[in-house]
Symmetry: C2
Subunit: 275 residues, 2 copies
C-alpha cells in the first residue's frame, strides 16, 4: 500500500454525468478535499455494453485518475461498480470504492420489515447487483427489483417536478408499494435527482437509500481511519474531465451540483486507451 | 456501377432498433424483397459520439451489408444519415439512401404555409441536418427545430398510449403549435411509434412526415427505375443481425414490426472492425 499526501485528490469516475450526484455528496461531506472527476461521455452509456467492455473502460478511466495521483477512487456508476469493481481493486493499490456494497449495507441497516426494493438501469437490475449483495449479507432478506429506464433521460432533461415525471414514477413504483417494501435503493446515480418525487409517491414511511451518500460515508471513514484526510482549512479544488461534449456536460453538471463548474477539460478517448 | 441480381437483398442498418420502423415500411411496400437488417446494439447510441466515430462505425456497418451482397443500402438512422451519408456514397458503388433528403423533400411537398417543424435527437437537431437540407432545397422556408430526448426511451418502453407520454409530448410540441407549423418532420426513426399521440396533440391539420416512409418510396423508385425490383411472387426473407443483446432486440423488434422475428443472429463488433 502506497502512502499518499493528505492533499492528494479523491478520484471519481462515471460513464457520464450521473456520478455528479456522488461528487456532490463528497463535496458537501468533505469540503476541503480536492476532487478530480472523470465522465466518460464519449462512451456513455456503459449499461448496454458487455461486461468485458465495461471492465476494459473502467480500467482506462481508473488509470486516468491514477495518473493524476489520486489517493482513492470512487466508482460513481452502478454498472461499472457491479461489473468492474473487483478487477479494479485487484489492479490498484489504492482503495477503490463502489456503489453497491455501501448502498446494500445502508439498506439492511434501515429496513425493519426486511423487504427491500431496488430500482436501477436495465443493466444493474439484470446483473442482480444489489439483490445478490443483499442476500450475501443477509440470506433472509426479501428483495424486489425493477428497471426504470425513463428516469435517467428525465433527470437529464431536468424535469424534476414535472407532472409527466410524477406519472412515470407512479407507473414504475406502484409494484414496490404493493410489495410493501419499507426501504428503496436508488440503484443509479441519476436517481437522487428525482428523490423528492419518488419519496412523495412511496410515502414518508419508506426510506430511500442514496448509494452515493452511503459510499461517501465509507470514503470519509477510510480517510479518517488511515489518517489521510485533507486537513487544509481551505475549500478544495474540483477538476472535471470528460471524453466528449464538455459544454453539454458543464450545463448539466451545474444543474446536478447546484453550483458553478469552473475547471472542465475534454480529453481524447485515444489518450485513455494508450495510457 | 455493378449489376445485381434482382433477388439480392436490400440492406438496412441502424445504430439499434429505431431503424425497424423503416424496415417495416419497406416490408409493407416491397413485400417480396429480401431484407438484411443490421442493428449496432453494442455501440448504440450514435447520437452522442463524434462525427469521426460515427463515420467509422457507419462504414463498418455498411461493409457488413456489402459482404452479404445487398443491392442497395438504407441508412435507417438519422444521426448516421446526417453525418456519414456522403462518405458511404463515395465509398460504395451501390446506392446508399439516407433519411434526411427524402424526409425534407416530402415535407416541402406537403407544407402550404412554408413553416416546417423538425423533432429529433440532440445530435440530429444540433447538426441542423434537416434545417440545412430544407433551406438548400428552398431558401424561403421557415424551420423550427427541437430535440425531444425522452421520445426514444418512451418508445422503447412501449408506452405508446400512456398518460405520461401525452404529457411529455405536450411539453415538447407546444412550441410547434405556437409557431404555427403545418408540417412536422419526425426526424428520428423511433418517433413513428408515437405518431398517434403526436398527431393528436398537433391536430389533424398538421402533416407528420415519416422520413422512413419517404425513404422507402425513394427505394421503390430506384429499384423500378433500374429494373432491379425483385419480381418473385413469394414473400421475401428477413434476416436480422445485431452486435449485442439479441434477445432484447427480438422482443423490441416484434413490438416495432408487429410480427414475429424468426431469423436473428448476433455478430461480434470485432468482426465488423476487421472485415
Amino acid at each position: 500500500m502506497q502512502f499518499f499526501n493528505k492533499t492528494a485528490p479523491i478520484g471519481i469516475f462515471d460513464s457520464g454525468i450521473g456520478g455528479l450526484t456522488v461528487a456532490k455528496r463528497i463535496i458537501s461531506m468533505l469540503p476541503n478535499e480536492n476532487i478530480i472527476y472523470f465522465g466518460d461521455t464519449a462512451r456513455v452509456p456503459y449499461g448496454s455494453k458487455s461486461n468485458t467492455t465495461v471492465i476494459e473502460y473502467a480500467i482506462q478511466d481508473a488509470q486516468f485518475l491514477i495518473n493524476k495521483n489520486v489517493k482513492l477512487i470512487i466508482v460513481a456508476c452502478n454498472t461499472a461498480s457491479s461489473v468492474a469493481l473487483e478487477s479494479l481493486q485487484k489492479k490498484y493499490d489504492i482503495p477503490v470504492i463502489g456503489m453497491i456494497e455501501p448502498g446494500a449495507k445502508l439498506a439492511l441497516d434501515k429496513t425493519k420489515n426486511r423487504r427491500i426494493g431496488v430500482i436501477g438501469t436495465y443493466s444493474t437490475i439484470n446483473n442482480k447487483a444489489y439483490s445478490e449483495q443483499l442476500k450475501e449479507l443477509d440470506s433472509e432478506i426479501t428483495v424486489f427489483e425493477k428497471a426504470c429506464p425513463l428516469f435517467v433521460p428525465i433527470a437529464e432533461e431536468g424535469w424534476l417536478d414535472h407532472e409527466a415525471t410524477k406519472l412515470v414514477a407512479k407507473e414504475y413504483l406502484q409494484d414496490f408499494i404493493d410489495a410493501d417494501v419499507d426501504t428503496l435503493i436508488l440503484g443509479c446515480t441519476h436517481y437522487p435527482l428525482l428523490s423528492e418525487i419518488i419519496q412523495n409517491i412511496m410515502g414518508e414511511k419508506v426510506t430511500l437509500i442514496d448509494s452515493g451518500f452511503a459510499a461517501s460515508h465509507q470514503v470519509e471513514d477510510y480517510l479518517k481511519g488511515r489518517g489521510v484526510r485533507n486537513d487544509s482549512v481551505q475549500i478544495g479544488t474540483h477538476h472535471f474531465y470528460v471524453s466528449d461534449l464538455p459544454d453539454k456536460f458543464k450545463s448539466m453538471a451545474e444543474r446536478f451540483l447546484g453550483s458553478e463548474v469552473k475547471h472542465i477539460e475534454k480529453i481524447d478517448v485515444e489518450t485513455l486507451i494508450t495510457h
